[in-house]
């Protein structure tokens, strides 16, 4: 059964695992997974970025570990094994966040713990890692993590800029524009509420579909 010819590390097939999830197979806007955290943590760029990084790490390593274990696990108990692996990784990530970026970790609050239930991770482990070799599985994990993070950062960019007038905590819209300082501008409070994040996801899907017509359902 052994595959005699050696595949290059970044063959076209492997590269596709990495780039596919960025656009054509994007977890958020095509597979519609992980929407809940995309709405919850995108009020600012910083938490969105940290969340994206955490999810990428967890998907990549859970894919890698499950792919290594895939031949040894009876399929009946695979879900519980997956949960153990993912949960351990999430706890690791949580500890690292608490140690190095405590304020962001506080902002993300329960959503770090909830990475365990993020549909993208379970979905990729089930759909990809259990049937593929470790290296492609790892790349697939990175690709999906980045695909997810990319959307998160796009949403967070608009929400933070229009909702708070800042980006990454730095003021972009000058104070003197605001109504209370005699200007005309006012922050859009709706942007900070989750419903608007959903509208932005909808607009992103709209633009994405109109550029990739083959994704439009009949």
């Amino acid at each position: 059964m052994s595959n005699t010819e050696k595949e290059p590390l970044f063959s076209a097939k492997n590269l596709k695992c990495l780039t596919g999830p960025l656009s054509h197979n994007n977890p958020v806007i095509v597979q519609v997974l992980g929407i809940c955290s995309a709405l919850a943590v995108t009020a600012g760029l910083k938490p969105a970025f940290v969340m994206a990084l955490s999810v990428t790490t967890v998907t990549a390593f859970s894919n890698l570990i499950m792919s290594l274990l895939r031949k040894g696990i009876p399929s009946r108990i695979r879900i519980i094994v997956q949960l153990v692996v993912i949960a351990s990784l999430v706890i690791l990530v949580d500890q690292v966040l608490k140690a190095y970026v405590y304020d962001v970790s506080k902002q993300l609050s329960v959503y770090v713990g909830l990475i365990i239930t993020n549909c993208i991770i379970m979905g990729r482990v089930e759909a990809f890692a259990l049937g593929n070799k470790p290296w492609p599985a790892f790349l697939d994990g990175i690709g999906n993590g980045i695909g997810y993070g990319m959307i998160l950062i796009i949403i967070a960019f608009f929400r933070e800029l229009l909702g708070a007038g800042t980006l990454w905590g730095y003021r972009i819209i000058p104070e003197s524009w605001y109504i209370q300082n005699g200007g005309f501008y006012s922050n859009n409070g709706l942007m900070l509420l989750p419903p608007m994040a959903l509208v932005i996801v909808g607009i992103i899907i709209w633009i994405h579909r109109s550029r990739n017509k083959d994704l439009i359902e009949k």
């Binding site: 109504i179 005309f184 006012s186 859009n188 409070g189 709706l190 509208v199 909808g202 709209w206």
Partner: protein, 403 residues
């Protein structure tokens, strides 16, 4: 009129198939049918032969809105001069209000119609007339001091996200005008709530005489209840002390509030026009009022604070209740389609509006949220009404067969 017809006929060929400006034909059609009754007739399989079309229906609604608009303009002036403590004649008040309200109307129409025309051109559809009414409703539910760019943004949001995305006129889930208001309400809360936004110039700190309150009666009422003040409801002086206006003012509309919502009289004139021409459903309209009375009555029985004890019919005079019942809840697109459904939805709108007002101190006005909420539920109500009808008729068939 004849010259206009001639001119339209002269430029028409350019817009027809093969003409130079064919790409703009839906824009041309929109203006032509706006000016003249179209001469196209149904050729086959006609269902209803009538000179009425969406455009005529919409114009009737706009006519029905005129009393509220005109009174709103007058009231804007009245409140403004009251806040300054100056005496002003009717015409002076009206002219001041006219100058303040007109820009909002213009912005609403220009932005909304602009998007509608653009969307029609892009899709190759005909321009739909739905915005004629929405464009008039939006200014009427805004406070007079609202910055114009907010009106423009909210209108764009309502038309694009609330309507065009879902398929245009007739396909929207939510009433676009209320969506525009909700957008501003949640985005720019300080600009559409509180005490200073309802009177022109008050927010900018123009001179105010002692004893003038720019708060709407509902806001004052909410505050009176929070500070557990006692209001004797059968004593006009006690009411006036608490909310600085009397029930008669609420009925006539000489109180602070959104531009078109204050005067129940003007709204009732509109309601008569709508009901007489059959444009709006009397079932919805009356059941909204009935729902308000019912919920108010229930609260009266419970009692406990000044708000709960307020006579139920006062709710119908205050805030946007009448305006919502007559012009918003009756929207033929977003309301229920079945007759029973209309009654159910109407009752629930009235009840929820009063419920929000009385129970949630965070939202002094509940009408907007109640109508939007029931807009979302209307298809569900319709579904169950239809399902019940099918069940009933099935039973009849079974009975008939078994005989």
């Amino acid at each position: 009129m004849k010259a206009l017809r001639k001119y339209v006929d002269k430029i028409k060929p350019a817009f027809e198939e093969g003409g130079k400006l064919h790409a703009l034909h839906s824009t041309f059609d929109a203006f032509e049918t706006f000016l003249f009754v179209p001469d196209t007739v149904t050729r086959k399989g006609a269902h209803v032969r009538d000179c009425n079309d969406i455009k005529r229906v919409m114009i009737v609604v706009v006519l029905a809105l005129l009393p509220a608009l005109l009174f709103g303009m007058y009231n804007v002036g009245l409140q403004h001069f009251r806040s300054l403590g100056e005496a002003a004649g009717v015409m002076q008040c009206f002219w001041f209000g006219f100058l303040r309200v007109l820009p909002i109307v213009v912005v609403s129409y220009v932005v909304g119609l602009g998007i509608e025309f653009a969307a029609a051109q892009l899709r190759g559809h005909e321009v739909n007339e739905g915005f004629l009414v929405t464009g008039m409703l939006i200014p009427l539910v805004m406070p007079v001091d609202i910055p114009l760019w907010m009106v423009a943004l909210a209108t764009a949001f309502a038309v694009i996200i609330g309507k065009e995305v879902l398929g245009g006129t007739g396909m929207n889930i939510f009433n676009p005008a209320l969506l525009a208001r909700a957008f501003i309400f949640f985005s720019y809360t300080p600009c559409i709530s509180g005490e200073t936004v309802w009177t022109a110039g008050l927010g900018k700190g123009e001179g105010v005489i002692d004893g003038f309150s720019g708060a709407t009666p509902l806001t004052s009422l909410g505050e009176a209840v929070t500070s557990s003040a006692d209001i004797v409801w059968n004593n006009a002086a006690s009411i006036k002390a608490a909310v600085s206006s009397a029930p008669m003012d609420w009925f006539l509309g000489t109180i602070p509030g959104s531009i078109g919502e204050t005067s129940v009289v003007a709204i009732l004139i509109g309601a008569v026009i709508l009901l007489f021409t059959g444009v709006a459903s009397w079932r919805t309209m009356f059941s909204v009022f009935a729902g308000g009375l019912l919920m108010g009555g229930i609260f009266n029985l419970v009692g406990g604070n000044a708000y709960l004890d307020m006579p139920a019919y006062y709710h119908l005079l205050l805030g946007g209740f009448a305006f919502g019942a007559v012009f918003m809840a009756t929207d033929p697109v977003t309301s229920a389609q079945t007759n029973t459904g209309k009654v159910v939805v109407g009752l629930l709108i009235g009840m929820i509006a009063v419920l929000i007002r009385v129970v949630n101190p965070g939202y002094p006005e509940g009408m907007m949220l109640a109508i939007l909420f029931m807009n979302a539920l209307a298809p569900l109500v319709d579904h169950y009404v239809v399902a019940a009808n099918i069940r009933r008729r099935n039973k009849r068939v079974v009975v008939a067969k078994s005989k």
